[in-house]
């Protein structure tokens, strides 16, 4: 037995050594620009773009967010750091920009991106102290998706007013359908904070995230009381895994979800659902009925490493990526678009892009990016606790705890 074991071992060892010997150097040519991203799924898309537009990009995808952050943050300031990498907007970008390790792209915006048809207002999300550090990779507008079959079955149509929305939820609940599905990701509670603040008063939201209004302000409490009463009435499903949320929605166990357009990809790929046929979308109407409804968006930038030996080439590559042609390819794969006129090939997603670019809605950067991280962390945990145990006291306590952290932050 032992001999057999040793034999197997030797076999395995010799095969492995052979393999190492065969390992060639995989370094590309000098002009290749490294493109790191934590969206490992983007690999085929980026490849397609670099082939069609003929760009020397070498894509490296990370499947784990924390491993990705370690790899990027610890390589910054070094010559071999990646020319281009994906980052987050808002305070996370600010943390990175203050190190001085990422390149200022203000001039690039003026000379190229805007020329190519990228909305210059988007630069706001990537601006730190007057300088723009990011080029948009994606902008995702959060809307409410609804299952059309379920709506048809109970003779429902998208709400015109916030009261309509409440009536729809009531009807669905009485029919045994979960009105709104909820996913249980640790961070996912803040979307409801912005959902209700946005419907209550978009300006109040801005004041809050900028630190001018306290979380214990009575208007904030009033806005979130609407959330509380909806939880208490059973309008929300119990929080489930993200994949299960898609399943609840696709099977009609739940009628609505609040998601960005990439949600569509799961509906199409995993369940074969069709736009307008099986699902539709709407923006939540404002509570007072007069204010323009608010659409929250998340924006992911591509940034350039200042110390990288590829810096100049990276900027050149970015000029080609920040074009309608490149975004068209990206939009078709991700089912989400944000540049005016770029089509995804999906009617619902195109509709989202269209209304977001129209004047009928107010656009707001979502809570996660527009609030200092320490407050976001406190808020997500405390809001979950409130969600699981909704009451006047637990809401008060949650807001009190968040404000405690906010008091110590600089905005």
């Amino acid at each position: 037995m032992m001999k057999k074991f040793i034999f197997t071992l030797l076999m395995v060892a010799s095969i492995s050594i052979l393999l190492v010997a065969c390992e060639g150097s995989s370094e590309g040519s000098k002009n290749t620009v490294d493109y790191y991203s934590d969206l490992a799924d983007d690999e085929p898309t980026v490849k397609k773009i670099s082939e069609e537009i003929d760009l020397p990009i070498k894509f490296t995808g990370y499947s784990d967010g924390q491993a990705y952050q370690t790899a990027v943050s610890q390589s910054l300031g070094k010559e071999n750091s990646p020319g281009i990498f994906k980052w987050w907007s808002g305070y996370r970008l600010k943390d990175l920009a203050t190190t001085g390790q990422i390149a200022d792209l203000t001039a690039e915006w003026e000379d190229y991106y805007t020329e190519a048809g990228i909305n210059p207002e988007l630069a706001d999300a990537f601006t730190v102290d007057g300088k723009v550090y990011g080029a948009p990779l994606s902008v995702l507008y959060n809307v409410v998706f609804y299952n059309k079959k379920v709506f048809e079955e109970y003779n429902l149509s998208p709400p015109e007013t916030f009261d309509d929305f409440l009536n729809i939820a009531e009807t669905l609940k009485n029919e045994g359908v979960i009105p709104l599905a909820v996913k249980n990701d640790g961070w996912a509670s803040f979307v409801w904070l912005q959902f209700f603040l946005g419907a209550y008063d978009p300006d109040l939201y801005t004041e809050l995230v900028e630190g001018n209004v306290s979380y214990e302000d009575e208007r904030v409490v009033e806005a979130l009381s609407a959330w509380q009463s909806m939880i208490e009435k059973g309008y929300f499903g119990e929080p489930v895994k993200a994949v299960d949320q898609t399943k609840q929605f696709a099977k009609g166990d739940a009628a609505m979800t609040y998601e960005p357009p990439i949600f569509i990809k799961g509906l199409e790929d995993d369940y074969g659902m069709e736009a307008n046929e099986d699902y539709g979308m709407f923006v939540i109407p404002s509570m007072d009925g007069t204010t323009k409804p608010a659409i929250f968006y998340e924006a992911s930038p591509l940034v350039v490493s200042e110390a990288s030996s590829q810096k100049e080439e990276a900027k050149e590559v970015l000029r080609e990526l920040e074009t309608k042609d490149a975004f068209e390819i990206y939009a078709k794969e991700s089912k989400a678009a944000f540049v005016e006129g770029v089509k995804t090939g999906n009617e619902i997603s195109d509709e989202i892009n269209e209304i977001a670019n129209s004047d009928d809605y107010i656009l707001k950067l979502r809570y996660y990016e527009s609030t200092p991280s320490a407050i976001v962390n406190a808020a997500t945990e405390n809001l979950w606790e409130f969600f699981y145990n909704p009451s006047d006291e637990s809401l008060k306590k949650a807001l009190e705890n968040i404000q405690k952290v906010a008091d110590e932050e600089e905005f």
């Binding site: 924390q66 952050q69 370690t70 943050s73 610890q74 910054l76 943390d95 990175l96 203050t98 190190t99 390790q101 249980n184 990701d185 640790g186 119990e238 929080p239 489930v240 895994k241 299960d244 399943k247 609840q248 991280s373 320490a374 962390n377 945990e381 405390n382 979950w384 606790e385 699981y388």
Partner: protein, 296 residues
């Protein structure tokens, strides 16, 4: 004469050094990776550091914050539950199964079945069990069968989910201990057992008085290994609940990871890591020091 003498002392000096060369490869490798990292973390634990900007040294502030942090206290408590749970399932039940298996003829069949989950990684096992235990898994099946009150996602119920995860990780981790116990039981010499039996020892008494003491060396390995791993419990929780809902199922390792890599407070995370390591080190030393008595 003189030269010969110094040569001799050279030789004996060399002879004294040679034994240390046996230690060298291990000490060097462990030193470069483990000790270096430990020292690095120790230094970081006295600093405020987000991994991007310069470190700012703040003395014992991280440690002081730690003992006032309700999340830290809760996750310490959860870690204790994990430790106790690990002593119950992967150790006590593994021992029970091992004893039972030595009494049946189809030893290798049972060994293989109980070892099977161990061939999976903790992450994969976690993903499989999450699917089975969450909304569209077993709870859904029970719901269809009419038990509506059970038809919710068990892993999102605070505190209950910790117990479920302890059992899940027991399912996954029982294999190794079981194998070690069976090896130990098969190795026990027959004579003392026969002697005890002649004196009238039977069943449980036989095991308590004779068999278990003879199993002590294997027990030490299993116990220490399980204790160390249970203090560091991470993968299962990270996959199954991510420490949630609202941080109720975090263990020390999860809290450490979250603070260090999600909240980017590497200093605070390192402080928790130091606390965890020192605790495990002390326990290991207490368990091991007996085996070194009279060694020097």
């Amino acid at each position: 004469m003189e030269i010969a003498k110094s040569k001799l002392s050279m030789k004996s000096k060399l002879g004294k050094i040679i034994p240390y060369l046996y230690l060298a490869p291990s000490v060097i490798l462990v030193g470069i990776f483990c000790i270096y990292s430990d020292v690095f973390s120790l230094i970081v634990s006295f600093a405020e550091w987000d991994g991007l900007n310069e470190m700012k040294f703040i003395g014992f502030q991280n440690y002081m914050n730690m003992f006032q942090d309700p999340n830290f206290l809760l996750s310490s408590l959860n870690t204790l539950i994990w430790v106790v749970g690990t002593l119950l399932i992967p150790v006590a039940i593994a021992l029970l199964f091992a004893i039972a298996i030595t009494h049946v003829k189809t030893q290798s069949f049972f060994k293989t079945v109980f070892y099977l989950p161990n061939a999976l990684s903790q992450t994969i096992a976690g993903i499989i069990l999450t699917t089975i235990l969450s909304t569209y898994g077993l709870p859904h099946l029970l719901g269809v069968m009419g038990f509506d009150s059970l038809a919710n996602d068990w892993l999102t119920v605070p505190y209950l989910n910790t117990l479920i995860m302890v059992v899940s990780s027991g399912w996954q981790g029982i294999g190794l201990n079981l194998i070690l116990f069976i090896v130990g039981l098969n190795q026990i010499p027959k004579e003392p057992i026969e002697a005890a039996r002649i004196e009238g020892a039977q069943g449980i008494k036989l095991y308590r008085k004779v068999v278990l003491p003879l199993l002590k060396p294997i027990m030490l390995i299993v116990l220490l290994m399980s204790l160390v791993n249970s203090f560091k419990s991470f993968d299962t929780i990270w996959v199954m609940t991510n420490g949630g809902p609202y941080r109720t199922s975090e263990t020390l390792a999860v809290t450490m990871y979250k603070e260090a890599f999600v909240n980017n407070q590497l200093g605070y995370g390192s402080a928790i890591a130091m606390f965890l390591s020192v605790t495990v080190l002390i326990i290991s030393w207490l368990l091991l020091r007996d085996t070194f008595k009279g060694e020097e």
